[in-house]
């Protein structure tokens, strides 16, 4: 029971508020899930279902598809995704900074200037290399 003591401890004291907050998130998530589920069940109940021969065919403007749709797409999207993930991570760093840079002072500001500068250089590189271009 010692283990559970620790966990109990976790949710008491200073963690209390945090836990209570995210409890609501958990409940909301469960609720959202249940909402969708109940709607689906309701639909199963109320909607007619029939099986026609071609009902399940993929919609292609009235034509029958031949090949599966899953096929490779342009490399462009992928480059954007890479750019995004890099900058997303960067945003992760900026958020704490945005709140605390005043208390840290100019050091933090210049740190961030350098950081953003480096990333901006990356963006510029991507720009120059045409990763932001389509053709």
């Amino acid at each position: 029971m010692k283990v559970w003591g620790v966990l109990e401890h976790l949710v008491s004291g200073s963690l209390d508020a945090l836990f209570a907050n995210y409890l609501a998130v958990l409940i909301a998530a469960a609720f959202g899930f249940i909402l969708v589920l109940s709607a689906l069940i309701g639909s199963r109940l109320l909607a007619p279902f029939s099986e026609e021969r071609n009902k399940g065919t993929t919609y292609e403007c009235g034509m029958l598809p031949i090949r599966r749709a899953a096929t490779n797409v342009g490399v462009r999207f992928y480059l954007y995704a890479i750019l995004f993930i890099i900058f997303d991570v960067e945003a992760v760093f900026i958020f704490p900074w945005a709140i605390s840079f005043i208390s840290v002072g100019l050091v933090a500001y210049y740190e961030m200037v350098v950081f953003v500068g480096i990333l901006a250089a990356g963006l510029a590189y991507a720009w120059k290399k045409g990763a932001l271009q389509w053709q």
Partner: protein
């Protein structure tokens, strides 16, 4: 992948890719002596087979007590009739009048009628124009792809029975030859008001048929 050979044969021009070897036109066919061209081309017989409306059954029809079914039917039918979503699907000249009906002067949106481009979200198919034999498989397929319950409005003379083009043998003489039609609107083209009237008639029909709502 799941498209079997029969489907392929049934719809003919299905290639969405560059056809490997498109059939060429027969080289310089000399004029035949007698009347040429079979009326029903053998390749087309299968493609023009009619499709049926396959009613499904809603679960509530079997599980709900009878006393509750009637109001349930009523509510569902009422909501269906107030929210008839047609497919954006224009064929020929009638399509212009159909579009005009959506526009400011007639405003189908008043009746809760808004068009959706994909058959998956549609309840009504307005066949507005001539259905040619080349187009017929597509019309059939689109109809089949609509989820139940679904209705068809045949708009204009062409869709009703070929209209001015009945005598040309590349035209299907009426869309009801290939899919079941619920409401016919005469006219060439019908006025927008006539189409509105057809929607009102369809609403009436839905309410009358509400005992069959679960279909």
């Amino acid at each position: 992948m799941a498209v079997d050979a029969r489907d392929m044969a049934a719809t003919g021009t299905t290639e969405t890719q560059a056809p490997a070897a498109p059939p060429e036109i027969a080289p310089g066919v000399p004029m035949p002596a007698g009347p040429a061209g079979p009326q029903e081309h053998p390749l087309e017989v299968e493609r023009l087979k009619p499709v049926e409306y396959l009613p499904g059954k809603a679960l509530y029809r079997s599980v709900l007590p009878g006393i509750l079914q009637v109001p349930a039917d009523l509510v569902i039918a009422a909501s269906r009739k107030s929210s008839l979503w047609p497919m954006t699907f224009g064929l020929a000249c009638c399509a212009i009048e159909m579009i005009a009906t959506y526009m400011a002067h007639y405003d189908l949106d008043r009746f809760g009628i808004v068009p959706w481009p994909s058959p998956r979200q549609c309840d009504v198919m307005i066949v507005a124009g001539t259905v040619t034999k080349k187009m017929a498989p597509a019309v059939k397929l689109l109809y089949e792809q609509m989820p139940n319950p679904k209705w068809v409005i045949s708009m204009g003379a062409c869709a009703t029975n070929g209209g001015p083009y009945t005598r040309y043998d590349r035209v299907v003489q009426g869309v009801d030859k290939i899919i079941p039609v619920d409401v016919y609107v005469p006219g060439c083209p019908p006025r927008p008001e006539a189409l509105l009237d057809a929607f009102l008639a369809l609403q009436e029909k839905i309410m009358e048929d509400r005992a069959a709502t679960g279909r």
